[in-house]
Symmetry: C2
Subunit: 143 residues, 2 copies
């Protein structure tokens, strides 16, 4: 997986610096989590103490551009980043999340039942590239 991503990065004229490797490792180690830039900084500093927030933002941005990371907003006014389940391949995974309104826990939904809806929309003249679906409610613990 890391190898696949590294190949992808090379194809994008991406220089592998210590800081970028650290950020990438943080994202790989936190698969399935949704980290803010500040959280990535904190974790990255354990390995690269001198790394600055600007570098973290620039790296996350670049990795998002090359579709290694997925960038989204849960709370508001703040981006969060997560690794694509299949980062490194061409095919993107479609993300669904359930956000618990009580404890804030975010759960992934694996099913992707939207293709029917997408077809319906495309028949009206649109071309759908991606989608973003979030459910709000209560998790089993808080219900």
């Amino acid at each position: 997986m890391k190898k696949k991503i590294t190949i992808k990065l090379k194809q994008n004229d991406y220089k592998m610096t210590e800081q970028r490797e650290t950020v990438l490792e943080v994202m790989l180690k936190n698969r399935g989590k949704h980290l803010s830039a500040e959280e990535v900084l904190e974790k990255a500093r354990k390995k690269s103490p001198g790394i600055g927030i600007a570098t973290v933002y620039r790296t996350l941005e670049k990795l998002t551009e090359m579709e290694v990371l997925y960038k989204t907003v849960f709370e508001g006014g703040k981006f969060r980043y997560e690794l694509y389940d299949d980062a490194g391949s061409k095919q993107q995974h479609h993300h669904h999340h359930i956000i618990c309104l009580k404890c804030g826990k975010i759960t992934e939904v694996q099913e992707d039942l939207l293709s029917g809806l997408e077809q319906k929309i495309e028949s009206q003249g649109f071309k759908i590239i991606d989608h973003d679906l979030k459910f709000f409610g209560y998790c089993p613990n808080c219900k």
Copy 2:
């Protein structure tokens, strides 16, 4: 519709000031649009020239709390607000949007085909209250 909302507001100890009425009118006149606080301010100043941005934020926030408005993020780092289609009733409408990656136009999708998916998730122990679905792609003009 405005009457229904007014009743709802009264139930929430909401004082009807000139500024709040203006903001509410702006939202009613722009049904189906997704306005940022700055855009609401601009439109509101036509009727209440002295209104300040803080009041706009505070009013939008309050109307969101009482489920008259729906607050979401399209671009990033910026909230947008729109009137619930059925603001004033207990039942909320589920919003779907298609965002054109070229021209930025936002189109509403009326169908709601998610109830099947919601049932599936609830059978796993969750309780779903609401959802937020966005499609990214190209509109008929830009395709």
